[in-house]
Symmetry: C2
Subunit: 114 residues, 2 copies
Amino acid sequence: MSESTVELDSVANILKLLGDKTRLTMIKILDTHDACVCEFVEIFKTSQPAISQHIRKLKDAGLVRETRRGQWIIYSLSKDSPYYPLVQDLLLHLPNQDFRLKELEEQGLRISCE
Amino acid sequence: MSESTVELDSVANILKLLGDKTRLTMIKILDTHDACVCEFVEIFKTSQPAISQHIRKLKDAGLVRETRRGQWIIYSLSKDSPYYPLVQDLLLHLPNQDFRLKELEEQGLRISCE
DNA sequence: ATTGAATATAATCATTTGCTTATATAATAA
DNA sequence: TTATTATATAAGCAAATGATTATATTCAAT
């Protein structure tokens, strides 16, 4: 069969991880654009530590990987995760979140990280 | 497009709900077989109130519906839920759980509810 | 009517979660 | 070297979660 199944317990963990509005939105955004912590801070109007902690969970689960670029750390979806296919299927059911990055650009806050 | 997207917040809630080993297994089982509380009690080797409370959450979210049959209440997937397509996609990534019902039958515990 | 079986609900409690504040680290710029 | 910016980490705390025990409800059988 073409569907790759994974351990049920692991899937439950992934779903718990994505069962959070902030993290789910992050992943949806990262599906189309890499981003840094400071951008998420703006988008979610919350504290930097809060964002860092969300990101760490996603990173610990292997869903996201980081690349340092100067003083910024750019986060992106880790496409080689065994859960990537599952996550992709999930994201199809979510409305596009590009408007959030658009808002940032209008405020001139997106460029600040590049 | 053919994909039906739903509110991101609602999806986060559904994922949180399914981000629990017990509930996720329940849904996977219900995808192929209706079941009653007493069967889940046997399968998960946990207390009856614990199972009832899990079921209530699934019911409150509209993922599951109940049908009384004598003294038993039979639970089944609610296929008209707006989240049914999402759930179906999810379940494809999970290993089959039929062995759990098979074990029940071998112990003669499945028939007890019919 | 009474008993028993299946299920639900309520109260309680320990654990987990997600935030906050405060502080540390790492890279850049002056 | 010192200051600044981006990010991480730690500690503390309130709220949410999932179990347990005890009790209520509902239907069936006697």
